[in-house]
């Protein structure tokens, strides 16, 4: 049957299993929106407040569900507003498809109204991008975009569709869902070498990153920890790779890692690294990172191997296959000495209690934790609050943590939390900072219009805390541009947006507010007043190592 480009686009999206798309309309996508109107019983559109919010929502949707998140924007400013969202997803290897309309092909290059080189802009921030120049290729391009987004190392893919292609007609017949290309199998000879290295090790660490989450290998990773009698250390992207209450879970290492995790990495004799890319924030000084250890580096992307760190053994290929192969062959190991040593490092850092009953960030996080279920989504923005959540929150299930790891995008949280809540229907808590929330708080409107079960916890320290921390530690307390002398009343603000606004300045008020918020299933903002001088510790200064760790 003959169909227009718009019809083909919507049909192929539905074919790919897309049920929700986040977006914002404009001149060059109006025809697509008209098809969304006609198909609103088959595909749900969530209108955000800003295209950046739509991109982060598609990203959060993907992280929470494992499905490909989809967003749509018009040409020009719509497309440029997506860029930060694409870059965020690209840094964290999140499968997404972004659709942009563009001016008709005959106008491209003439600086016409709302024309921008979306394709060119998207290149460095996507896994790949397509510009469709013939309606006959449209269905195939959409399928290919989905296949690409989820295959191999996942990532965001952009499809730019000029207006005339949306209107052109061609024959169309459904072809079904684009299957993920099977991941290449790792070389079993290399995996056998890995087994040998595990047998030789007396102080093993399993080091997991976002790749473990993307490949849905949490169980295999946990089994590996147990059979190797190792401990698990994570990068921030890998925090949900294992039930955090497992006795062998040490959590995040690196710049703001937990003491035991960073110490264990510095003392172990073997790192089995799975789906991590050893960035500067995670390793500190690369020469001193795990300097007593051999490293086995498992990753789907061979370009990661040898990029930041020269592992002893590099094994490219399917992570799930690699982990299952190793765990199925491995004779269970016992390392009681190592167990005892590492356990003695746990709880080395004491949380100090608040002077005269004021609220401390970890108290807020723990109080949320007590009320949450294993399914509760936890999203964050970027700053000190993000690090505290990474350090203190006790995650149970994979995919329940949405945070911008690689790009560190302030303003990510609102969109991401909305996406996660839409994807799962589960209670979602966003921990944000007063600075970060200011970046995209407009999305509160979206949370309200969608009536999402979203609790926004603002760890309000009155400062750009992470900036202040660096000025405090490395710039002689030159507090420039980090003190937010604002008069924003977040309770009134929540009210103005049609959400519930609450405030807590001590533990009692906090408990009361959280009880109320968890009982509601609509958006709630809790303004938590915390001291401004609190710093995130431990801290390994940039390019430092465990030897330079600052504990308080």
């Amino acid at each position: 049957m003959e169909r227009s480009g718009c019809q083909i686009l919507i049909e192929t999206l539905i074919e790919q299993g897309v049920t929700t798309i986040f977006g914002y309309p404009g001149g060059q996508v109006l025809n697509i929106y008209d098809e969304l109107y006609k198909n609103n019983h088959r595909i749900n559109h969530v209108l955000t407040a800003h295209e950046q919010g739509a991109a982060h929502a598609a990203d959060g949707y993907s992280r929470a569900s494992g499905k490909v998140g989809v967003c749509i924007a018009t040409s020009g400013p719509g497309a440029t507003n997506l860029i930060t969202g694409l870059a965020t997803a690209n840094s964290d290897s999140i499968p997404m498809v972004a659709i942009t309309g563009n001016v008709p092909m005959e106008l491209i290059g003439s600086d016409s109204f709302q024309e921008v080189d979306t394709f060119g802009l998207s290149i460095p921030v996507t896994k790949h991008s397509f510009r469709v120049d013939n309606v006959e290729n449209l269905a195939e391009t959409v399928q290919e975009a989905f296949r690409l987004a989820k295959s191999g190392r996942p990532g965001p893919v952009l499809i730019d569709i000029p207006k005339n292609i949306q209107l052109d007609k061609t024959e169309y017949s459904p072809t079904g869902i684009a299957e993920k290309t099977p991941d290449p199998k790792p070389d079993t000879a290399l995996l056998d070498q890995a087994l040998e290295m595990i047998y030789e090790s007396k102080r093993p660490i399993v080091y997991c990153g976002g790749g473990v989450i993307n490949a849905n290998c949490s169980e295999a990773a946990t089994t590996l920890v147990e059979k190797t009698d190792a401990f698990m250390v994570c990068s921030m992207m890998g925090l949900t790779a294992m039930d955090n209450s497992h006795a062998r879970y040490l959590g995040m290492s690196g710049m703001h890692g937990r003491f035991a995790a960073t110490k264990a990495i510095s003392e172990c004799d073997l790192v089995i690294a799975a789906g991590v890319r050893f960035t500067d924030r995670a390793t500190g000084n690369k020469k001193k990172f795990a300097s007593n250890a051999k490293i086995i580096h498992l990753d789907i992307d061979s370009a990661e191997q040898g990029k930041n760190i020269d592992a002893t053994l590099q094994i490219p290929g399917d992570l799930g296959f690699a982990l299952n192969y190793i765990t199925s062959k491995l004779e269970p190991q016992k390392h009681p000495q190592w167990e005892e040593t590492v356990n003695s490092y746990k709880n080395k850092t004491k949380d100090y209690t608040a002077p005269n009953g004021c609220l401390l960030p970890w108290e807020v996080i723990n109080a949320v934790n007590e009320r949450a279920t294993p399914e509760t989504n936890i999203a964050t923005d970027v700053g000190q609050h993000q690090m505290w959540v990474a350090q203190y929150y006790n995650f149970k299930n994979p995919r329940t943590f949405q945070t911008s790891g690689g790009l560190g995008t302030m303003g990510y949280g609102m969109g991401a939390a909305i996406g996660a809540a839409v994807a799962t229907g589960n209670k979602t808590v966003l921990f944000t900072g007063d600075g970060s929330f200011g970046m995209n708080l407009n999305e509160l409107a979206t949370a309200v219009s969608q009536n999402l079960p979203l609790i926004i916890v603002i760890l309000n320290n009155g400062v750009l805390g992470m900036i202040r921390q660096w000025q405090n530690l490395f710039f002689d307390n030159h507090f420039i541009a980090s003190t937010l002398e604002r008069k924003t009343d977040f309770v009134k603000l929540a009210d103005a947006f049609g959400a519930t606004g609450l405030r807590a300045s001590n533990p009692e008020e906090l408990n009361e507010a959280l009880d109320k918020a968890f009982a509601l299933s609509s958006p709630v903002v809790i303004d938590c007043l915390i001291p401004d001088e609190e710093n995130v510790f431990p801290m390994v200064p940039p390019n430092g190592s465990f030897d330079n760790i600052i504990l308080k």
Partner: protein
């Protein structure tokens, strides 16, 4: 740390609009030091062939190869080893040539087995192909006579023997 070396890489890339942009964008994204970059059609209308020469240590070289091969439009990437590769570059040089210098330049052109492709009362244009070292030697020799301008294509590279970089199956 190994030291910096120049190396040549051949790339087969599908003829998609934007394929070139994506590859050249990679160089700035990853801070690769590209010395030359050529691209042209091949006997297969679906693909183009590029030759890149770059400078870097072993690590940079490996990253460049891996990152390029990850690109969607890229069908094949190969490092061209000097021993096993025909490497050629084209130079057109416009040289000041008046009076007695004219004969010296024509002699040099002859020795370097190049062609004179244009002459004017003040200048000659010389076209030369060869490995980059030969072109460099020629340019050094004629420099004292005054080079007005020159243009080099950058290297193209093909492996010796009957093996081909890319065969469609």
């Amino acid at each position: 740390m190994s030291s910096d070396q120049q190396f040549a890489v051949s790339i087969i890339v599908s003829n998609q609009s934007g394929a070139l942009t994506r590859i050249s964008s990679l160089f700035s994204q990853r801070n690769f030091n590209i010395d030359s970059f050529t691209c042209g059609v091949t006997n297969n209308p679906e693909v183009s062939r590029m030759t890149i020469t770059a400078t870097g240590d072993a690590n940079k070289k490996e990253q460049l190869l891996k990152q390029i091969s990850k690109l969607y439009d890229v069908k094949k990437v190969e490092l061209m080893t000097p021993e096993n590769t025909i490497l050629r570059e084209l130079l057109i040089a416009k040289v000041n040539a008046t009076g007695e210098s004219l004969q010296t330049i024509l002699d040099a052109a002859n020795v370097f087995r190049s062609k004179v492709v244009d002459m004017s009362p003040e200048s000659v244009c010389i076209e030369m192909t060869g490995e980059s070292s030969k072109l460099n030697a020629f340019l050094t020799y004629i420099a004292p006579y005054g080079i007005l301008e020159y243009c080099r294509t950058g290297l193209v590279a093909v492996e010796r023997g009957s093996k081909c970089l890319y065969v469609v199956d």
